[in-house]
Symmetry: C2
Subunit: 549 residues, 2 copies
C-alpha cells in the first residue's frame, strides 16, 4: 500500500496499551497491537511493602514499553513504512498523574525515591485522596467558588488537585522534590517530543482550568495550604494546548524506539473517553456518546456552558473545538453484571453473559416484578455519592437468577435515562444515543433495553477501538493538511469517524412499560439518594465500625 | 413396660401424618411413625384435569391411611399394648376443610362428585378464595363488625368462610349437596368416634366464633349472600367443644383399623401450632412460642382480649383454658432461605445450610452493610399484606453470597422483633421466647441471631414433635385422672411438657448493633409496608399484566 497515508493512535488504558494504525483518508484500521503492562495496576504492594486500601499506582516504564512493543510491531505486521505515517496522537486514562524532575524523569525511576509510593504514578482509580477531596469541596462551597458548578457541584477524589494535595499531606518530601506535577498523558507526549505541553482536556476536566478564567485562583490554593499557593506556576504550566495542536516532532530517541520517523508530528495528549466522540462520527450537539464497559461515561456537546448538577464536568473545547464538552458517568455498569456472575454463577463458563442474556431476553419488561437501584459501586451522575449502595426490590419465592440479572441491566439503563433527563432538564438536549466499548458491542439485550428504556435509537461507533481511533484522528490534525492530514478535526470526523449499520430502535410497547417502571425507579432514586432516607450511608458507617472493631 | 401408661398424639401435617406414643407420667416419647400421604398436596391436576392457580387440595382418604399405617406400627415397634394406651388426641393443619354428607362421608369419596374439585379437602394453603376474603373484609369494615378486631383487622383467604363462600360462588351444587361443612380436624375425630364435634380452636381462629358471642351473626352472612344466612345452623354446629374435652370413645371399626381398644377416649381436635404451646411447657402469659419452619407461627397467652393490629387472631381458651390465646405469624422464614439456596446454590449438597451458617457465623452484625425486608412470601404480621415483596439494600461489588444469606436470616429475626414489639405496644407483654420446629433445632446461627436481635433468651421445646406431643397431652386430658390421664392440661404440662437445657442467650454487644439496624428495618418496613410508597404493589400489577399480555 505504497500510496496510502496513515496515522497512528496510541491508547494507554488501565491494564494495557494499544497502537492502532489507521488509513488517514478512509479511517480503515489496518493494524493493531496490544501490550499488557508488565506491572499492571499496583494496588497491593510496592517493592514488597503493602499499600494502604484504595491505592492504585502504575509504573511509567510500562508506557514507554507500550510504545516500544506495539508501534514497531503494528508497522511490521501491516507492511506500512515509517514514511507513510503522517502523524501520531495518544489518549490516556485520566486523571493519572505523576511527579517528575525538571527533565521529566519520574521520581519513581530514581533510586532515592523508588520506595516511596507517592513518587509513582497515581492511576485514575487511586481513591485514597478522599479526605483531600472532601476538604477541597468544603472550602470551595464555603468560598462560593464559581468553578464548582462546572464540575456538577463536586470535585472528585480522583482528580488532579486531590492527588497533589495527598502527596503534599502524606509525603511533603516528594512534593518538594517534584519539579513537575503532571498528567501521565502529558508526560508521554513530553517523552515523545522532548517538549512539555499541557493538554486542554485534562486541564479542564481534572485540574480546574477554564478557557475564560484559566486555572483555579492562587487564593483558593492558599486556603488549602500556603505551600500550595503557587503550585500552578511552580510545578505545572499555565499555557494549555488545545486538542489537535501539534505538541512537537518525534525525537530521534523516540523514533529509534518506535521505528517511526524523527520529526513526525505528535498531537497534544487527549483522554480516552473524550477521544471516542469524534471516532463515533459525532460533530454536533444532541448526540450522547456512551462509552460502555466496567462503568459508563456519557459525553455530550453543547453550545453554552450550563451548570448541570451531578455531571462530571463541562469544558469549553474540551471534546471538540467550538463546543462545550459535557461529561457525566455511571460508576457501575459492566462491573455490576460481573459481580452477579462472580457471586451467583462462579462455576459458569466464559459465555455466561451470553447465556444469561439469551434467557433474560425471553422475559417481558416488568414481568419479573423486580426493580433495582444500580448503585453497587456508588452513584456518579447525577447524585455524585460514592456511599450509596445497591438495592433490589420485588423479590418473591419464585424469583429466578435470570430475572435478577435482567433487573440489574434495567437498573443500569434507568441510571442512564436519569442522566439524559437531567441534561434535558437543564437545557442540554439529548436526541440520539451513540455507544462504544466492549459492553456495547457484546451485550445485545442490554443495548436493546437501553433503547427501550430511554426511548431513543442507539447507534454503535464503527470502530472497536474508538479511543485509539480518536487519538489517531487528532494525530492527523496535528499533521495538518499540508502534512498529509487534516487542518480541522471536523474534516477528520467526516472521513475517518462513523457508525455501523446496526441501530437499536426502541420498541414503543416496551418503552411504555419502562416509563412506568422508571417513575418507580426515580421515586426510589430520590428517596434513597437525596437525603429522605440516608440508610445506605448509615449502614456503611456501621459496616466500617464493625470491620475495625 | 407393662406398668407404664401411654397416650397417643396423631399429627396431620401438610405432606404426611405422624403418630407419637408418649409416656403419660414423664412425657417420654417411646415411638413415632410417619405416613407420607399417597396423594400429598393436590395442586396441579385432579383426576387428570388441571387445577387453577392457587388451588391446594387433599384426599381425606390419606388421613384414614395415616391412622391405619402409623398407629399399629408405633404400638408394635415400641412393644406397647392397646391396654396401656389411655387416650388419643389429634392435631391438624387449619383451616383445612371439606364438605360431607350427613353421615360424614366426604363428597369427594362419592362417584357423583369425585371430579368436582370443590368436593375435595381445601388445604390450609389453598389461596384461591382471595376474592371472597376481600369481599368479607370490605363488608365487615363497612358494617363495623366488632369481630374483625379479633383477627388483627383482616380475615384471611385461607379461612373457613372464605373457602365456604368460594364453594358457593363457584360450585353451588357442591354447596347444596354438602350436609356438613367442617374442618378436616373435626372430620377425623368424627371418623374416630362416630360423633360429630366442633373444636374451639378452629372455630375461634378460623370460623369467626367467640366464647362470649358465639358465631358471626346471620345478618352478616346474609349480606355475603342470602343463601349463606343460615350456613352455621344448616351445615355447621353451634355447640363448640373446648380443648381437652373427650369427643367420644373410639369406635369398633376404628379400633380395628388402629389396633387400639374400642372406647378409648379421643380428645376434640386441635391445631398443630396451638398444640405445641403446652408441649413446650408454657402455662402462662409472657412466653412467646415460635413454631419455626417454612414460615413462623407466634403463639402467646394473655389475660384479656386486646385488639392487636396485624395479629392472626385472639381466642379465649383458644390455646389453653383460662387465657386468651394470641396468634401472629411470618409468612416467610425457612422458605426464604430455601429460595436463596435453590436460586444461588443449586449444585450444593444437603449440608448447604450448615455450610452457609458456618461461614455466615464469622461475620459480625452489620459487617455486611446489608439490610433486607423479609417479604419474599408477603407479610402476615403485622402488615397482613400478601402483595408485599422482598427487598435487599446495601449491596456493593464486594458483597458475597454468605453476606446475603446472613442478611436474610437477620431480616427474618427483625420480622419477629416487629411482632414482639407490636404485642408489647398493645399491652401483651413478651418476656421470654420459646421455639420449636425444624429450623429451631437445626439452625444454630439463626437462633443466636434471633436472641441477639430480640434481646431475649430463647428456650427450645424439648420435643422434636411438639404438635403431636401437645395432641397426646390433650388426649391425656380427655382420658382424665380416673382414666389414667390428667384432669387438666396444666397437670399434663407439668409432667409431660418442657424445654431443653440449651438456651440461646442474647449477646449484648450484638443486640446493640441490631437495635441500630432494627431502627433502619422499621423505617423501611413502614415506608414500603404502610402506604408511603406502594411500589411493591404497583410492580406486582405490572408483572401480572405482562404475564397475561
Amino acid at each position: 500500500m505504497p500510496d496510502r497515508k496513515f496515522v497512528l493512535g496510541v491508547d494507554f488504558g488501565t491494564e494495557s496499551g494499544r497502537a492502532l494504525l489507521v488509513d488517514v483518508d478512509t479511517g480503515e484500521e489496518v493494524g493493531t497491537e496490544v501490550y499488557p503492562y508488565a506491572d499492571g495496576v499496583i494496588d497491593r504492594s510496592l517493592n514488597g511493602r503493602p499499600l494502604p486500601p484504595d491505592w492504585a499506582l502504575q509504573n511509567p516504564e510500562d508506557y514507554l514499553r507500550t510504545l516500544n512493543r506495539t508501534v514497531p510491531a503494528v508497522l511490521a505486521a501491516s507492511g506500512v513504512s515509517a514514511e507513510q505515517v503522517v502523524g501520531v496522537g495518544i489518549d490516556f486514562t485520566a486523571c493519572t498523574m505523576l511527579p517528575t524532575d525538571a527533565a521529566g524523569t519520574p521520581l519513581c525511576a530514581k533510586p532515592d525515591w523508588k520506595d516511596n509510593p507517592h513518587a509513582w504514578v497515581k492511576l485514575w482509580k487511586h481513591h485514597a485522596a478522599q479526605p483531600e477531596a472532601d476538604k477541597i469541596n468544603e472550602i470551595a462551597r464555603n468560598r462560593g467558588e464559581a468553578w464548582l458548578q462546572r464540575y456538577g457541584g463536586k470535585y472528585s477524589s480522583e482528580w488532579f488537585f486531590s492527588k497533589v494535595w495527598q502527596i503534599f499531606d502524606e509525603a511533603p518530601e516528594v512534593y518538594y522534590a517534584a519539579d513537575r506535577l503532571l498528567e501521565a498523558a502529558d508526560w508521554i507526549v513530553w517523552q515523545m517530543t522532548g517538549k512539555e505541553t499541557r493538554n486542554l482536556c485534562t486541564a479542564g476536566y481534572k485540574a480546574i482550568w477554564d478557557k475564560q478564567s484559566g486555572f483555579v485562583s492562587s487564593e483558593f490554593l492558599r486556603v488549602l495550604d500556603s505551600a500550595l499557593e503557587r503550585v500552578v506556576d511552580q510545578k505545572m504550566m499555565r499555557n494549555v494546548s488545545p486538542l489537535g495542536e501539534c505538541a512537537g516532532g518525534l525525537t530521534r530517541e523516540m523514533a529509534a524506539l518506535t521505528r517511526l520517523r524523527p520529526g513526525l508530528p505528535v498531537a497534544v495528549a487527549n483522554v480516552d473517553a473524550h477521544a471516542s466522540v469524534p471516532a463515533a462520527g459525532i460533530a454536533e450537539p444532541g448526540k450522547l456518546l456512551m462509552i460502555m464497559g466496567t462503568s459508563i461515561c456519557h459525553m455530550l456537546l453543547g453550545t453554552a456552558s450550563q451548570p448541570v448538577p451531578g455531571m462530571c464536568g463541562v469544558v469549553e473545547d474540551g471534546i471538540l473545538p467550538g463546543f462545550f464538552g459535557y461529561e457525566a458517568g455511571q460508576s457501575g455498569a459492566g462491573d455490576i453484571l460481573a459481580w452477579f456472575v462472580r457471586t451467583f454463577c462462579p462455576e459458569a463458563g466464559a459465555a455466561v453473559h451470553e447465556e444469561l442474556e439469551a434467557r433474560a431476553a425471553r422475559l417481558k419488561p416488568g414481568e419479573s416484578g423486580l426493580l433495582a437501584l444500580d448503585w453497587w459501586n456508588g452513584n456518579r451522575s447525577v447524585l455524585v455519592d460514592t456511599h450509596l449502595s445497591g438495592l433490589l426490590l420485588g423479590a418473591t419465592l419464585e424469583t429466578t437468577p435470570v430475572e435478577i440479572y435482567r433487573a440489574l441491566i434495567e437498573s443500569i439503563a434507568f441510571g442512564t435515562r436519569t442522566i439524559i433527563e437531567n441534561f434535558d432538564h437543564y437545557g442540554i438536549p439529548v436526541n440520539e444515543l451513540y455507544a462504544c466499548g466492549g459492553m456495547a458491542e457484546k451485550n445485545t439485550l442490554l443495548m436493546q433495553i437501553f433503547a427501550d428504556v430511554t426511548g431513543r435509537p442507539i447507534k454503535l461507533a464503527r470502530s472497536s477501538q474508538s479511543s485509539a481511533l480518536g487519538a489517531a484522528m487528532f494525530g492527523a490534525v496535528a499533521a495538518g493538511n499540508k502534512g498529509g492530514g487534516y487542518d480541522a478535526i471536523y474534516d477528520a470526523i467526516a472521513r475517518m469517524g462513523g457508525t455501523r449499520e446496526l441501530v437499536y430502535t426502541p420498541n414503543q410497547a416496551s418503552h411504555q412499560v419502562y416509563t412506568t417502571l422508571f417513575k418507580e425507579y426515580t421515586d426510589l432514586h430520590d428517596y434513597f439518594g437525596r437525603e429522605a432516607n440516608e440508610v445506605m450511608k448509615r449502614l456503611r458507617a456501621v459496616k466500617a465500625a464493625q470491620r475495625v472493631g
